[in-house]
Symmetry: C3
Subunit: 348 residues, 3 copies
C-alpha cells in the first residue's frame, strides 16, 4: 500500500504542512517509525521523540507547537485521525460472507438474522437467536436458548452457555466463556462440598468487548450483568452475580468475586482482585495488582494489597522509606541519652 501524503491528509480531514508528494507506506509509533512511515503524537511529553523521529509525516493536534522535522498533518483529534489513517494500511482482513458454512451445526429451531455469517464448525443450539449481520467466525458455540444481538463479532472458540443474552455490536475474542457456573457450595458434615445450583444467567449490554480467554460466570439466580460499553481485557474472571456498570474498563487478569457491584466508568487495572459482595463506586480507579477488600467510594483511587486510598498508601510507602533513617535517629538519641546519664560515650 502506497499513498501520497496530500491524499492521505485529505482522507482523514487534516491540514497538511509539508510536501504533499511524499509517499507514505505504513504507520508506526514515533520512536519506531522509519522513512515512509506516518506517525502521530497526542501527548506533549513525547515532544522529544517527535523532534527526533525518522517518520516522514506526523499527525498532531491543531495547536501542536513543538519542533518536528517531518511533515505535519494537523487534526482536531490526532489519535482518532491516526486510527483512521492506520486502517488504510491495515493488512487484508479475513473475508466474511453472509451464510452458513456447511460444516456448522445449526439446530433446526435456531434463528439467524439477516446477513449473519456462520463460519466452519460453529454450533448454534436449539432455541438460540443470532442477530442481523453478526459474525460467528469459526468454532463458535452458542448454547441453548441464548441470544446474541446484531452486528456482533465472535472469534474462534468462543463458547456461550445456555440462556445467556448478549447485546448489539459485541466483540468476543477467542476462548471467551460466557455463562459457566458460578463457584458456590455448601459444606457437609463430613467436610465434602455440595454444589449450589447456578440457575441464573448472564446479560451483556451493547458495545461490549471481551478479551481472549476471559470467563464470565452465570448467576446463582438472577443475572450476572455487564453494562453497555464495558471493555474487558484478556484472562479476566467475572464471578457470579457480579454487576459491572456502563463504560467500565477491566484490564487483563483481574478477578471480580461473586455479587460485587462495579459502578460506571470504573477502571480496574491489571491483575487487580476485588473481593465478593462489595460496591465499587462510579468513576473509581483501582491500581494494578490491588486487592480490594472494602467498598470503594465513587471517584476514589485505591491501590495496594490490601488496597487503601492512594494518599494513605503513599504516606505509608513514604514512612517505610524513612525507616532506616528513623533507626539511625533512634541510635543517635540513645547515645546522647547515655552521655547525659553519665555513661560512656560510644566510640567515634
Amino acid at each position: 500500500m502506497e499513498i501520497a501524503l496530500a491524499e492521505l491528509a485529505r482522507k482523514i480531514g487534516g491540514t497538511l504542512e509539508g510536501d504533499g508528494a511524499l509517499v507514505i507506506r505504513g504507520v508506526a509509533g514515533v520512536r519506531e517509525a522509519r522513512e515512509g512511515d506516518l506517525s502521530f503524537v497526542a501527548n506533549p511529553r513525547y515532544a522529544p521523540d517527535v523532534a527526533q523521529t525518522r517518520a516522514s509525516a506526523v499527525i498532531v493536534d491543531r495547536k501542536w507547537d513543538k519542533p518536528c522535522s517531518a511533515a505535519l498533518i494537523r487534526c482536531a483529534h490526532a489519535d482518532r485521525a491516526f486510527a483512521e489513517a492506520a486502517m488504510i494500511f491495515a493488512p487484508n482482513a479475513p473475508p466474511c460472507e453472509p451464510g452458513v458454512h456447511p460444516s456448522a451445526v445449526i439446530a433446526p429451531d435456531a434463528r439467524l438474522g439477516e446477513g449473519v455469517s456462520v463460519g466452519p464448525l460453529c454450533v448454534v443450539e436449539a432455541g438460540a437467536v443470532i442477530g442481523d449481520r453478526t459474525v460467528l467466525r469459526a468454532c463458535v458455540y452458542v448454547g441453548f436458548q441464548s441470544r446474541v444481538g446484531s452486528d456482533g463479532l465472535l472469534h474462534p472458540n468462543v463458547s456461550i452457555r445456555e440462556n445467556c443474552v448478549i447485546g448489539d455490536r459485541v466483540i468476543l475474542h477467542n476462548g471467551v466463556v460466557v455463562g459457566s457456573d458460578g463457584f458456590g457450595y455448601t459444606v457437609e458434615e463430613d467436610g465434602s462440598r455440595r454444589k449450589i445450583p447456578q440457575i441464573g444467567t448472564v446479560e451483556i449490554g451493547n458495545d461490549v468487548e471481551i478479551g481472549a480467554n476471559t470467563t464470565v460466570d452465570r448467576a446463582r439466580f438472577g443475572c450476572t450483568r455487564i453494562g453497555n460499553g464495558v471493555k474487558i481485557d484478556n484472562l479476566v474472571q467475572i464471578g457470579h452475580n457480579v454487576q459491572v456498570g456502563d463504560y467500565t474498563v477491566v484490564v487483563a487478569q483481574t478477578g471480580i468475586a461473586g455479587s460485587t457491584e462495579i459502578g460506571r466508568n470504573v477502571i480496574l487495572a491489571g491483575q487487580s482482585g476485588i473481593a465478593g459482595h462489595l460496591v465499587i463506586g462510579d468513576g473509581a480507579v483501582i491500581g494494578g495488582q490491588s486487592g480490594v477488600g472494602k467498598d470503594v467510594p465513587p471517584g476514589e483511587t485505591w491501590r495496594g494489597s490490601p488496597a487503601r486510598p492512594i494518599r494513605e498508601m503513599m504516606k505509608a510507602d513514604a514512612a517505610l522509606l524513612r525507616l532506616p533513617q528513623m533507626k539511625r535517629a533512634l541510635a543517635d538519641l540513645e547515645a546522647r541519652v547515655r552521655k547525659l546519664e553519665g555513661g560512656e560515650t560510644r566510640p567515634g
Copy 2:
C-alpha cells in the same frame, strides 16, 4: 413458572408460617427480592435485610427468631432447602439425549458407556473410554487412551490430553485443559533451553468440579493428582506433579507451582500463588493474593506476599499503622534530649 407457597413448602419439606395461597414466581436474594419472590436466610447477620425484604416468602432455619413481614418456610437447612426450591424456577436446561451426534468424531476403538451423550463436533480419540451416562456437551476433545468416569459433564471446548484419568461425577467447565505439558527445561551452555519431556499423566478423583479455562498440567513423570471432592474455580493453574488433597477448594486465578502438595480441606483464596515443592498442611487457609514460599503447617491461616501466619501479618500491619506516631514520638524525644543537653529548645 408459578407455584402456590403451600405446595412449594411441601416440596422442600418445610413448615409453612403464612398464607399458603400466595403465588411464588421466582427466587432472589433477600435484598434484591420483589413481590412474588421466594428468598432465604441462613446467617443471623442478615436479619436487618430480612426485616425489610420485599420477598413474599423467606426460607429460614427451624430456630429463626428474627422479625420478618414475609411468610416463612422453616427447614432443617435453609440453604439446602433454598437450593432445592431454586431448581423449581430454573430456566429450561439444555436437552441432553443419549447418543452420538453425527458430526462428532469417535475413534473406532474408543469405548462409550451406556447412556453416554456426545454432542456436536466432539472428538474422542483412539483408546479413550467414556463412562456411563457422561455428557460431552459439544466441541469436547478427549485424547488418546484417556478415561472419563461415569455421570460426568464436560462443557464445550474442554480438552483432555492423552493418557489422563478422570473420576466419576466430574464437571469440567468450558475451556478446561487437562494434561498439557508441565513447564520444565534444562539450560544449555548457550543459554537456550531444552525441553524436559513431560511423560506423566493427570489423575482426577470423583466429584471434582473444575472452572472455566483452568489448566492442569500433566506430570513430568508419575501423576499430577486432584483428590476426591476437590472444587477448582476459573482460570486456575495447577503445575506438573502437584497433589491436591480431598475436599480442597481453589478459588479463581490461583496458581500452584510444580510438585507442591496441597493437603485435604485446604482453602486457597483467589489469586493466591503457591511456590513449587512445598507442603500445605490439611485444613490450612491461604488468603487472597497471598504468595506462599514456605511450607504451611496444618490448620494455619496464612496471608500476604510473602505469606506469613495471619497473627504475625496482623502485628506487622498494626506496627505499620503506628509508624507516623513513632515518628512523632521520636521527634518529641529528640527535643527533650536537646533541652537536657542545654541546647536551644525547638520553637513551639
Copy 3:
C-alpha cells in the same frame, strides 16, 4: 515396560556401578521412588534423599561422591540422561500420521507442507500456510493468511488469528490464542470508549513453547514479537506490541502490558505483572507476584509490588521485622529521658 539396568545404562551412555541384571520398570523422583524405579540427582543438596531412596538405581553426575545404597549410573549430565531414560518408560504417545482428517476444513488455497498432519475438526483458513511435518492435533484454528513453520505441534483448541507468523519447531498447548486484538480505546466526550483498530500482527520465533490458555495479543500496528527459544507457561497475558527477547522464560499467570520490551534471557517468575512501555534488560530476573512499574537494568533481580532491586527489598523487609524492637527501644529511651528530666520513673 521392563529393561535390565545394564542395557539401560548402555542406552543413555552412562557408566554402571551395581548389578546390571536389576530390572527397571519406571522412573520417579528420589523421594517417591520404589523398588524397580530409576531415579536421578543433580543437586548435592538432595544427598540425604539419595541416601534414603528406595529406588533400585540412581543416575548421578560423574563426580558424585555421596552415599547411596542403590546402583548408580554415572553420566556427564545426570538431568539430561534421566530425561532420555524417562522416554523409555513413557506411555504410548498418540499416533500421528501425515494427512488431513476428512472432518477438517481446509481452504482450497491454504498450503500444507510435506508430511503435515491435520487432525479432526481443524480449520485452516484461506491463504494460510502450514510448514513441513507440522502437526495440528485436532480442533486447531489457523486464521486467514497466517503462517506456521515446520516441525510444529499445535494441540487441540489452539486458535491463531489472521496474518500471524509462527516459526519452526513451535509447540502451542491447548487453548493458546495468538493474535487477539490488543486492548486500546480512545475516550469520547460522553465517557464511552471507541476501539482503536488493532491492525498489527504477531511474530513468533523458532523453538518457542507456549502454555495452555495463554494469550498473545496482536499489535496495534507493527508486530507483537516473541523471540527464538522463548518459553511461556500457562495462562500468561502478552499485551499488544510487546517484544520478548530470545531465550526468555515467562512463568504461569504473568502479564506483560502493551509495548513493553523484555530482553534476552530474562526470567519473569509466576504471577508477576509488568506495566506497559517499559524496558526489562537482558538477563534480568523478576520475582513471583512482583509488580514492575519501572525499567529494570540488565542483570538485576527485582521483587515486590511495587518491585524494587532485591537488595533494597530485603533491607526494607528486615527493617519491617525490626519495627517491634524499635518500638520497645523508643519506649525505653523515653523512660530514661523522663528520669533525667526528674520525672517519676516508670514502675518496673
